[in-house]
Structures are given as structure tokens and as C-alpha cells.
């Protein structure tokens, strides 16, 4: 049982999540319903996309703090082109291209010019926000067309088209990182860059690709944001990158690179969003949100840390228990060794 928790943070997270759901369900019957689930999912989409992108970069032992600005910039490109009369599919293409370009510029600086990622993306955090403000002249973009907002509207089962797209993307990311060789490269680059290089992994290309993927995710988040809210304030996405980093830590992604899973990030996003919705449901004033979310984040991390320590101790004990019992090698190899030794 403990082993399960040790192996993945996801299990700890889901266990805590269930306890929390049960408690809230007991206090406020009616919380646990399909409607809540639908709200939680659609509220989580933006954070989900940003966290997913951030995770890919963190896996390669870099960091991206510019995603919030990329979100804002690509949403602005989307809104401006729509309001200029560009058709919806073409506007979406512009939006995604903006994200990809922004990510590629980050990737260029980090992977090919060797600028530390925190410095490079802190720079573009301001730069991209600045470009957005220049483009919009500092004004909010309003009166977005109806067909954009319709993307976020519920279809029959309580899910919007965007929800389906995002969930499909999450599944795709999981498959790619877990099941393909190129996906494994992302872990390898973050785990030990020199080793990856030595074993023939195209280290720079992988780092670059991670930033482009993050840019695309942020652009898609911009699209979701605009569709859900219906207008684009010029602070759109401000500060979400830090929340995404917290989500990653909560979901078991090591900031040192090389470990983490899509499932963990998914569970963490749902967890954080559920807290928000539960607080609303329990009629706790909104200004408590940050306090409670922070406290829960720390408790989960502490709990997880304790569990890990216990497990580590056990693994060590098991490893060294061999010596209590006697030799580990089978007799024949030992014999062979003695013969060789007598050379």
C-alpha cells in the first residue's frame, strides 16, 4: 500500500481528493453531482493547458515563466483578427502560430544560445505582455463573435467542444511521453543532459521542441480563455504561470527535471480547481481561496514527503538485509571466481 503511494504522487493526491470530496459531500449534500463535475472540468481547462505545457519544459530541466504572457498575446491575436473580420478557423490558426512562435523564440534562446531558461523566459514574460499591449493599444478586446463563444458552450452531455479537445490533448501527451521513444528523450534530457548527449539524444532539439509545445499549449489556453469569458482583458493570464508551477510540484513533477507524469499533473489540476468550486459551494468568502489552496498544497507536500522518507528507509533496509542473512551470490559463480582468482 505504502509502496503504491511512494511510486506515484498521483495516488496520494487522489486519496486526499477522495477524502476531501467525501467530507464536503457530507457537509453539503448536493455538491457531489454531475453538474459540479462539469463546472470543475470546464473551469480547469485553462490551468490544465498551461500546466501541461509547463510540465513538458520542466521535464527537460528548464522552466518557462512566460506562458501567462503567451496566453495573453495569442488571445489578443485571436480577438484582433476576429474583430477585423478574419474567419474563425483562420483566426485560430493565427492564434496557435503566435504561441508556437513565442515558444520557438524561448527555445532558440535556451537551447541554441545557451541562455538559462529562467532568465530567458523572465525576459519574454515582459516582452510578450508588452507586445500584446502594443497590439491592443492597452484596451480590452470585447464584442467577440458568437461562434467563438459557442466553442465553450455545452453540448448535450455537459461537455463543450473545447473540453473534448483539451482532454484529447492530455491523453495524447500521456501517450507520447510514456509510450514513445521520443517521449523518453524528454525525461533523459532532464535527468542528465551530458548522459543524454553522450547516448545520441538530440539534446538541443528536444529542449527546443519542449518550448514550442509549451507555446502551443499556452496559445490553446488563450483560445479557451477568450471563448469562455467572451472578452480579453489586457491582464489575461497574468500570474497563471506560477500557479502552473505549483500544480506541477503538487502533481509530483520534480523541478530538477527527469520525473513526473501527465496523470499527476491532471490530478493536481482537478484537485486545485475542485477546491475553488467547493469553497464557492460551501459559501466561504472568495478571499479565503488563496489561503486555503496554499495550506492544502503544503499539507499534501508534507504528507508526501513523510511517506517518501518512510519508503526510502524501507528500501534501504531491504537492500542491506541481504547482509544479515548471508551471501547473495549463487555457489557456482563464487566457485568460478575462486578458480579465476588462483590464476
Amino acid at each position: 500500500m505504502l509502496d503504491l503511494f511512494a511510486r506515484n504522487r498521483v495516488a496520494t493526491l487522489i486519496a486526499v481528493l477522495f477524502v476531501a470530496y467525501a467530507a464536503i459531500g457530507a457537509v453539503a449534500p448536493g455538491y457531489l453531482s454531475g453538474a459540479t463535475a462539469s463546472v470543475v472540468i470546464s473551469n480547469s481547462l485553462v490551468l490544465m493547458l498551461i500546466s501541461l505545457g509547463t510540465m513538458i519544459v520542466i521535464l527537460t530541466r528548464n522552466i518557462d515563466v512566460s506562458s501567462g504572457s503567451v496566453l495573453g498575446l495569442s488571445a489578443a491575436v485571436l480577438g484582433l483578427s476576429l474583430n477585423a473580420g478574419v474567419s474563425l478557423p483562420l483566426a485560430i490558426a493565427f492564434c496557435l502560430a503566435t504561441g508556437a512562435l513565442a515558444g520557438a523564440f524561448n527555445g532558440l534562446m535556451v537551447a541554441y544560445l545557451g541562455i538559462p531558461s529562467i532568465v530567458a523566459t523572465l525576459g519574454t514574460l515582459g516582452l510578450y505582455r508588452g507586445i500584446m499591449l502594443v497590439l491592443t493599444g492597452g484596451r480590452w478586446i470585447e464584442d467577440l463573435p458568437q461562434n467563438l463563444k459557442a466553442l465553450a458552450g455545452n453540448h448535450g452531455l455537459g461537455f463543450s467542444a473545447l473540453t473534448v479537445v483539451v482532454l484529447a490533448l492530455v491523453a495524447l501527451a500521456w501517450f507520447f511521453l510514456r509510450k514513445t521513444r521520443f517521449g523518453r528523450y524528454f525525461y533523459a534530457v532532464g535527468d542528465n543532459r551530458a548522459a543524454a548527449h553522450h547516448l545520441g539524444v538530440p539534446v538541443r532539439r528536444v529542449q527546443f521542441a519542449a518550448f514550442v509545445a509549451t507555446g502551443l499549449c499556452a496559445a490553446l489556453a488563450g483560445l479557451v480563455f477568450a471563448a469562455q469569458i467572451g472578452f480579453i482583458p489586457n491582464q489575461a493570464g497574468n500570474g497563471i504561470e506560477l500557479k502552473a508551477i505549483a500544480v506541477n510540484v503538487l502533481g509530483g513533477v520534480s523541478l530538477l527535471g527527469g520525473t513526473g507524469s501527465v496523470a499527476g499533473v491532471f490530478a493536481a489540476v482537478i484537485f486545485i480547481t475542485s477546491i475553488d468550486s467547493a469553497l464557492v459551494f460551501l459559501k466561504i468568502p472568495a478571499y479565503w481561496n488563496d489561503f486555503i489552496a496554499g495550506a492544502i498544497l503544503l499539507s499534501v507536500l508534507l504528507l508526501d514527503g513523510r511517506i517518501r522518507q518512510i519508503i526510502d528507509r524501507r528500501i534501504r533496509a531491504r537492500r542491506y538485509a541481504v547482509h544479515e542473512r548471508g551471501p547473495a551470490q549463487p555457489a557456482d559463480t563464487t566457485k568460478a571466481r575462486i578458480v579465476e582468482a588462483g590464476r
Partner: protein, 500 residues
């Protein structure tokens, strides 16, 4: 392909030049490798062996020169490109991905999935007669196991050209023997192998051809049989060195000093149980055993790095109950760790920081870098450390020179009891003799020394007394007649006896 067996040549380097910054390291090196040839590459620490091999495998670019592998040119410096051409380098310091499993570590970069490769890897593990848990996290591997993982990477890749850069520096004679059997098999299949080692005995055993590199040029090359050990050692260094200076205990009178400096009673901890031993001032105690016998764990527990579960440690008549590295250093119990890259050196820091790092808590509040540099320069002169200056970063040094810096760091703490864990791993013949002299001199000055080594020759040459550990327990003691054979018999006999 043009690299037909008829031509017989699998690799050719022509006029390779390389410098790091302004310092030239390789000055026009040309070398060829035939199919089925095991080619020894020798040279002192910092001669440029690893640099040459890294260039050949695309890890670092050369300044000029041509590289041809299997008849095709290596056009740009990239390990992936070199591997495509059929070359793999097993590097001097193992590259490990700590968060991946051992199996994933071995199979990374290969087209086939780890699951598909598993049977092959398992077979290779058996052939090398090592015990390695393929599903364990690589972070937990010890240095010898890391080296084995690197060797497995090379073997599983079916390379036509295999470079082994000091593959045996952390292995005992057994793993080495098994590796050599595997190498002979590859040789029979027509694989060309470059083999780097500082141990002449090993080179005599496995290699057919030899090249000696000195100061970036090849000074001797040809069939190994036609050169004597003395000629080879002469070629390696312009300074005259006598081959292995042999046993020499002049100036030390061990038996006269009564009280033990360090006395360990029934110590148990992670990986070892009930170990008792005494070391007297001026004595060199050898601690022998096979890989995994628990010697490093024992040393780390003595130094307060691991928890102890039973027993006592008495230092100069006073029991050290709560040990931490700080307490130990302040008393004069100093440990030289076996893994210089992980536990020994601050690789990004200048050399003089490294040397004063054991005493960092005793430095004045306002640092005096001048004095620290001076200390380093003294060691540099007395030990012959090859570097550009005290301000150079440690990662820029060749393996053997890093080892000397590590030793200097321990000596700067003015030890009374010095625990040396593999003090000459990767150190060249000349420097090894230097280090031996330093160790003997320390003992003559009254330092008690515990020498842990996988190299039984080394123990034979230095030790006054030998304790053997096997499977974490005491396996016997040798007081007189210390010879390689006697040590081997005891080390492996003890494991056998315990097993029966």
C-alpha cells in the same frame, strides 16, 4: 561500404589537433585501428587520451583533422552520428540517468524498446558474472555498478568500434576477468577495440597493439610484444621513473607504537556487521574485499555519513559517539571518498576552493584567497598536479589530476587517521608512485592510514597489515606474508566459507 574486412581498418584518425582555450592538448595525432584488434592507449594523466577518444566519438569537436569510422567520415561532432557509423565510447566517468531504471539507462538511445532488449541485457549480465538489478533506480548504484552499466551499454550496441576508457578502474580482478572474456569474444567477431588503462598488467593480458600518448603526440606505437614495461613507462614520461618501487617500509617502526589511534569494536551498519579493527599511528592497514563487500559503507559510517546500528569507535582514547564529518575532521579523522565526481570534488569551483573545502569552517570570516592559492600551489608542486592554475575549475582536469586534487584536499585537513577509499583510481603509473610515496611519508610522520583498494597489487605494496571483508563481515587478517595471492585467497575464500 568501403570498410570491407579485406581492408581490415575500422577506424582511422588523421592529424587531430585540439586545444581547450589556449592550451593545446592534442598536437597532430594520427592512429588507426584494425578489425579484431585490441589497441591499448597509454599515457600519463592529462596526456589527452580521453580527449582523443571523445573527439573520435563525436562528444567534443576537434580543431582540425579527419576521422574515419568503418570507411565513412565523421563529418560533424555528434555522438548520434558516431553511433550510426558503428562506434561507441564507454566513457571514463559513467553517465547515469538517476531517475530511470537500470534497464532504461542501458537501452536509452536505441531503436528497440527496453522490454524487447531485456533478454539480451540479462544474458550479458550473466556473462559478466555480476549481480545487477535491472529494475532498480539507477540513483542507488555504486561506482563499480555504474561502470558496469556503461560497459553494458557498449556491449548491447553491437558496435564495430568500441572504446573502453578505463573500464576497470573500479573493478576487482573478477569483474575484470569476466569483462576480458567478453572482449576476446568481440575481438573474434572482428570488433576493433581501443582500451585505455593505467594498469600494465591488464594491458599485457588483453591487448595486441599499443600506442603511447605524451603531451598530445604519439611517442610510441606498435605491437605490444616488442616493448618491455620499462620502455613503455619511459615513453610515457620524460622523467625517469623506476617501475613499481616495490615494498619499502624504511623509516617506519610500527610495532613500537603501542596505543591504537583508531579502534573500532563491533561496528554494524548499513551493509556490514560486527567489524572490529585497530589502526596504530604510523601503520598502513589495507582493507580488501570484492565489490559489494561493504568496505565503502564501513568507511562512510566511520566518517559519520551513514547511521550505525551497533558498536563503538574510539579515537585517541576517546569514544566518538555522535559522529558527523565535521566532528571527525576536527579530531583529525579524514575520509577520501571513492567517487571523486559525486562526493569528492566541487566540479564547478576553482581548484583552490576544492583544496580548502574540508576546512571551510575554519577559514577566517574575511577570506584570504591568496593564502588558499598558496596552499594549493604547494600541493600542486609536491604532487605534480597538471592544471592551468589555482583558479581553474575542477571539471577541466583529467581524471588522474582530479584524484590528486582530492588527495590534496584531505591532506590540507592535517589528518591523524586517514581513510583512503580507492586513492589511485584512474591515476597513471608515475603519479601512482608519487601517491604511494606520499602515503608512505604520511605513515612515517605518524598518520594512521586505512587503505581501501580493489587493486590487490596496491595493497601488497603499501600495507603493513591487511583486514579482509566479505559480505559485510570480517573475513580474516593477514599480518606477514602480504601478497596478491594471499589477499585474493582470503578475500574470495572468505566469501566461499561464509557461503558454505
Amino acid at each position: 561500404m568501403t570498410g570491407s574486412p579485406a581492408a581490415g581498418r575500422v577506424a582511422k584518425l588523421t592529424d587531430i589537433w585540439k586545444s581547450y582555450g589556449a592550451v593545446p592538448v592534442l598536437k597532430g595525432v594520427s592512429i588507426t585501428l584494425q578489425a579484431g584488434e585490441v589497441h591499448a592507449l597509454l599515457g600519463g594523466n592529462g596526456a589527452g587520451k580521453s580527449s582523443l577518444m571523445k573527439i573520435m566519438s563525436g562528444v567534443i569537436p576537434a580543431n582540425s583533422g579527419a576521422i574515419e569510422i568503418n570507411g565513412r567520415a565523421l563529418t560533424h561532432a555528434s555522438p548520434a552520428h558516431a553511433q550510426d557509423l558503428g562506434l561507441y565510447l564507454v566513457p571514463q566517468e559513467a553517465h547515469i540517468l538517476p531517475n530511470q531504471s537500470v534497464l532504461e539507462n542501458i537501452c536509452l538511445g536505441l531503436a528497440a524498446s527496453p522490454r524487447a532488449l531485456r533478454p539480451r541485457v540479462e544474458q550479458l549480465v550473466t556473462e559478466l558474472s555480476v549481480s545487477l538489478d535491472l529494475d532498480a533506480q539507477a540513483a542507488a548504484l555504486e561506482i563499480a555498478e555504474r561502470q558496469i552499466v556503461e560497459i553494458l551499454r557498449g556491449l548491447v550496441r553491437d558496435a564495430r568500434v568500441l572504446i573502453l576508457d578505463e573500464p576497470t578502474s573500479a573493478l576487482t580482478p573478477f569483474e575484470t576477468n569476466a569483462l576480458f572474456q567478453r572482449v576476446r569474444k568481440l575481438q573474434a567477431q572482428g570488433v576493433g577495440i581501443f582500451f585505455i588503462s593505467h594498469k600494465l598488467r591488464e594491458i599485457r593480458e588483453i591487448c595486441g597493439t599499443i600506442s603511447v600518448l605524451r603531451d598530445g603526440v604519439i611517442v610510441l606505437s606498435g605491437p605490444l610484444d616488442s616493448y618491455s614495461d620499462a620502455e613503455i613507462i619511459d615513453a610515457m614520461s620524460r622523467v625517469q621513473i623506476t617501475a613499481a618501487s616495490g615494498k619499502d617500509r624504511t623509516g617506519r617502526k610500527v610495532s613500537q607504537i603501542g596505543r591504537p589511534r583508531l579502534s573500532v569494536r563491533g561496528l554494524s551498519g548499513e551493509g556490514f556487521r560486527n567489524i572490529s579493527l585497530d589502526v596504530r599511528a604510523g601503520e598502513i592497514l589495507g582493507l580488501a574485499g570484492v565489490v559489494g563487500a561493504g568496505r565503502t559503507e564501513f568507511a562512510e559510517t566511520l566518517f559519520g555519513l551513514r547511521p550505525q546500528s551497533a558498536g563503538s569507535v574510539v579515537f585517541d582514547g576517546e569514544e566518538l559517539k555522535k559522529r558527523s564529518p565535521r566532528v571527525c575532521i576536527d579530531r583529525g579523522l579524514v575520509y577520501l571518498p571513492e567517487d571523486r565526481q559525486q562526493h569528492g570534488l566541487f566540479l564547478e569551483a576553482p581548484l583552490f576552493w576544492n583544496v580548502s573545502s574540508y576546512l571551510v569552517h575554519r577559514l577566517p570570516f574575511f577570506l584570504r584567497p591568496g593564502a588558499e592559492r598558496k596552499t594549493f600551489d604547494d600541493f600542486r608542486a609536491s604532487m605534480g598536479i597538471k592544471c592551468t592554475g589555482p583558479g581553474q575549475e575542477a571539471h577541466g582536469l583529467s581524471g588522474g589530476n582530479q584524484q590528486k586534487v582530492l588527495l590534496a584536499k584531505c591532506l590540507s585537513a592535517r589528518p591523524k587517521v586517514l581513510i583512503l577509499d580507492e586513492p589511485t583510481r584512474g591515476v597513471d603509473v608515475a603519479a601512482r608512485n608519487d601517491i604511494y610515496d606520499i602515503i608512505r611519508k604520511l605513515a612515517a610522520e605518524g598518520v594512521a592510514i586505512v587503505l581501501i583498494s580493489s587493486d590487490f597489487d596496491e595493497i601488497e605494496q603499501l600495507a603493513d597489515r591487511v583486514e579482509v571483508m566479505a559480505f559485510g563481515q570480517s573475513g580474516g587478517e593477514l599480518t606477514d606474508d602480504i601478497s596478491v595471492d594471499a589477499i585474493a585467497r582470503l578475500a574470495f575464500g572468505a566469501s566461499e566459507a561464509r557461503h558454505a
